[in-house]
Amino acid sequence: MKHLRFILAVTAAVLCVSWQAQAAGVKVIANSSVSADSISAGDLKNVFLEDSDSLAGSHVEPVLTKGGPAHEAFLKEYLGKSDAALQAFYRSLVFTGKASMPKMLASDAEVVAYVAKTKGAIGYVSPDTSTAGVKTLQVK
């Protein structure tokens, strides 16, 4: 019985660590003009699916990366879409005139640089990316 409890505790700990690692596979950043320090997962999804362009009274615009581990983690964790489905979604809005294509950049460093200089920009990068000049939003 003692051994069983020990095994269950270790298993739970491993699962907990791996879940945290998965959820922490991406860091959400924002321009300093964005007044909020946190964002709900639902609001984050609304911003990146162009359902909403404001957060806590601040105008916001999404910034994405063109592929990479952070991009894949973000899509899986927060948008629930594959990259192909997301691109088709954006293009269906663009080619019917309902929205603009969001900014898409080649690397985490470019995302940080763009978010730092662009009022209202919200993006995502790998957890170990330097985020000097931008604020990190906690995702609730």
Binding site: G80, S82, A84, G97
Partner: protein, 404 residues
């Protein structure tokens, strides 16, 4: 051979144009505002074993299957955006690279639940009406023709008028997107209405109409499931005269009395799978007036039921395979003894490969049974099939599309 060369050259020119555009910035500044530029160019090839389809000489293989579009748009303020898109195509004798205004409108969003659009606006009807000519957005090279006929694109795809639209959050019940619209319809003298009329001996000297309707899309609490419904009232007034046959010179008018479409549809995504289905019921009563019939109009019923069901699976991030079954049934065919004229079914298998984020290629097989009624535009025209129509048609479609 000349047609093949011409088609390939046209496709190459469009490709070169779009490649050159893509090398430059896809947006530019107008004052302090950013104008985004996007477009696509598509080249296809269609081959059928028997009947010629969609005014292409498909029984000999046809590369006359080219489309392209270019759009500009600008977010003027956080609530107001403007934009427009030009479109061109040559699909057999459907259009001849004449550029047309696809859409151009101003859009003001007062609140998430209430916005207005005014101008030439894509019509929200069913799953794909407003994106039916954006082939690169879909798994298929050809959308189910029972509901999205290529030969009637201009008539159904947009209206010049206005929309009221919005999103209503239903909390735990999901969200509801609504559109209510009204406007003037467009017609193209190189599309299905004109071709089936001429095939039956009468021309169209004037044609006009308007449309009004609504569309509701419910994103349900079930993850990946969206359900929707549309209703449209379409009016058409046509006038012309018989140009061949026993009534040459006699004038006619045709008015829809009424023409109403109801559609129900759904879209379900789970993992690498996507399933869609749509049903459309069209009540189409025509009042045909002519001195030949005296003072009373001759009533003619062209009502139909149509539906399709699709399944698509993403095998790898770049490769997707799909299948669909499409069916249209004509309630009152003009020749009931011809069983091939009261329906068209289409079994379709598709492979789509995304070369990169800009290029995709498709290979698609169609296995069709039936050819529809001669007094309607359903892809098979007697002028392109002078030898008569065979009951079954198998077709191969290849397509390559570049978008930016």
């Amino acid at each position: 051979m000349r047609l093949v060369v011409r088609g390939l050259m046209t496709g190459a020119m469009l490709t070169a144009l779009t490649l050159s555009i893509s090398l430059h910035a896809q947006d530019f500044k107008l004052g302090s505002k950013t104008v985004q530029v996007h477009g696509f160019a598509s080249q296809g090839y269609a081959y059928t074993n028997d009947n010629n389809f969609l005014t292409m000489n498909t029984s000999h293989g046809s590369p006359a299957f080219t489309e392209g579009a270019l759009n500009l748009s600008m977010q003027v303020t956080s609530k107001f955006r403007v934009g427009g898109q030009g479109y061109t195509r040559k699909i057999g004798s459907l259009d001849d690279f004449r550029p047309v205004l696809d859409w151009a409108y101003g859009d003001y969003k007062f609140a998430k639940w209430f916005g207005v659009r005014a101008g030439k606006v894509k019509t929200a009807m069913g799953l794909y009406n407003d994106t039916q000519d954006m082939e690169f957005l879909h798994t298929w090279a050809l959308l189910p023709q029972s509901i999205y006929p290529v030969d009637l694109r201009t008539t159904f795809i947009a209206h010049t008028g206005g929309d009221v639209y919005g999103r209503i959050q239903l909390k735990k019940a999901g969200k509801l997107d609504y559109t209510v619209y009204g406007g003037i319809r467009s017609f193209d003298n190189r599309e299905g209405y004109y071709y089936f009329s001429l095939a039956n001996g009468f021309n169209i000297e004037s044609i006009s109409g308007h449309t009004e309707g609504w569309d509701l899309k419910w994103t349900t609490p079930v993850k990946g499931l969206m359900l929707g419904s549309s209703w449209t009232n379409l009016t058409v007034h046509r006038a012309g005269q018989w140009v061949t046959g026993p009534f040459v010179g006699a004038h006619y008018t045709i008015d829809t009395f009424p023409n109403r479409v109801w559609a129900g549809y759904g879209d379900y995504n789970r993992g690498k799978w996507e399933f869609t289905s749509e049903y459309r019921s069209t009540l189409d009563e025509l009042a045909i007036g002519s001195s030949l019939f005296g003072s009373s109009a001759f009533m003619y019923n062209q009502s139909t039921e149509a539906w399709y069901a699709t399944a698509a699976y993403r095998i790898t991030p770049k490769l997707q395979a799909g299948y669909y079954h499409s069916n249209i049934h004509i309630d009152n065919p003009s020749n009931p003894s011809d069983t091939a004229s009261n329906h068209i079914t289409d079994e379709v298998v598709t492979g789509r490969y995304d070369v990169n984020s800009h290029w995709e290629v498709k290979a698609e097989g169609h296995f069709m049974d039936g050819y529809g009624d001669i007094y309607s535009a359903q892809g098979f025209y007697s002028a392109w099939n002078p030898q008569g129509l065979k009951p079954k048609t198998n077709m191969l479609v290849l397509k390559a599309t570049f978008n930016f």
